[in-house]
Amino acid sequence: MITNIFKKYRFLLLRRVSQLGILALYFSANAYGFKVLTGTLSSSLLFSTVPLSDPFAVMQMFAAGAVLGADALIGALIVFIFYATVGGRAFCSWVCPINMVTDLANWLRRVLLLDKVERKVWLGRSVRYKVLILSLILSAITGVAAFEIVSPISMLHRGIVFGMGMGGAAVLSIFLFDLFAVKNGWCGHICPLGAFYSLSSKVSILRVKHNQPNCTLCMKCKDVCPEKQILSLIGKESGDVSSGECTNCGRCIEVCDDDALSFGIRNYINKNG
């Protein structure tokens, strides 16, 4: 029974452990001097040696006209290469603290049956790419990293590490927006950081794989997926979920009762395999 529940939520539990663990490491570095991961998600130092930086923040700063130090550049490169080649958009579902907020809103939507209420879809999934372009243009115009100064991700994350201030209001706005306005509104429609990782990790190798013969078309995976449009192959053909918009959260895999979905390595070499 217990093992069954664990199996049904294995990736969800692992993700929460990952998200909370990362937050705990950042927090304890500041509060207790436990220096495994110092700094914040914008830029940090792992084990006091390996620099890690947010590649999208660095990109905005370039657009703003900054000449940056080597640590920030190397750090951004390390993070960029990791997600681009291996992790895919895993930042969004395994690291980002806002994911817990929007997941809660999404879960409440399902519990309160808000999803069943029909409403006009008024926000396209491509809006985030426009926000991405806009944040680069505005960085160039204003001379500051435009998204970084309004980012609710950093507000929440920095809030937990250094103190919240009025940042809770921004986080609550996102929660309410996702709950009452648009399903997966922030993460799936607006967030330019998600858009950045969607574009930059199109070719990463860690992928969700579909085994079509096992599929019973129950559509539980589509119910739970925060980026439904990427699961267009369900019940039609076997293969990889190849869209960069997949966050590798693994929810579809755990809800599938028919063993039709699994994590796997994208096969670039043998197209028939």
């Binding site: 570095a29 500041n30 110092t38 700094g39 914040t40 914008s42 830029s43 940090s44 130092l45 620099p51 930086s53 947010d54 923040a57 660095v58 700063m61 703003a64 006209g65 900054a66 000449v67 940056l68 130090g69 640590d71 920030a72 750090g75 426009k130 926000v131 806009l134 243009i137 505005l138 115009i141 204003t142 001379g143 500051v144 990293a145 435009a146 970084e148 100064i149 309004v150 950093s154 507000m155 920095r158 809030g159 590490v161 250094f162 103190g163 919240m164 201030g165 009025m166 940042g167 209001a169 921004a170």
Partner: protein, 254 residues
Amino acid sequence: MAQSVGLSVLGGMVWTGYIEEAKSAPLILRPPGAKSEPDFLRMCIKCGQCAEACPYDTLRMAKPGDNKPMGTPFFIPRDVPCYMCTDIPCVPVCPTGALDEDSVSVVTEGEKVLDINRSKMGIAVVDEESCIAFWGIQCDACHRACPLMDEAIVLEFKRNERTGKHAFLIPKVMGDVCTGCGLCERACVTEKAAIFVLPHEVAQGKVGDRYIKGWDANDEKRLNDVSTDVTTQTKRSELAPQDYLNSEEVLFDN
């Protein structure tokens, strides 16, 4: 298409308006070695590693509601001043160079050594009205708190004509030495500090090219790059001076 372009422009304008408002915090004091404010805002990645490195919790990260550029480090000297660590832990950890190690280092015998006394976080300013030393009450709290005592804050002695037998011991800030650490502001005994640190851009004027110290040969050098093609054209300039100076009509015309 037209709709999405229009909405993007609209969103962009609102967003720009917010950014311009958010980044104007002229009274903010930055960590040692910080670049000039516009460059600092460009380069700071808001990671907080300087604040974590600070052993005195002097540096804070601006939160929503602080009315300061979000996520950037600053300090409020009256709460916690900069204690001028000689190893300056906050500066070398900066990953982007927004805190510039070179600006707080000196090169001695080919080796770069950190020197916190070179930092320029701000400049201390004295309000003569509320400083009790200007009343004739003996207080040199700021002078004694200053890590560069007798260099950054010097005491000026003046005769107190009111009593006829006492002296004023007046604190005077030497602007070129003061680092802006704020230890004086922290130490000040008045209810609201009578000596306080302001950013250089706020506290300092600028002479410009019109005035030089004629007695100082070095100061003349400022005139080397001055462009000389500044001329003011008025109705009078059409005539030679001896013409218009002898003509009441032109002289009193305007």
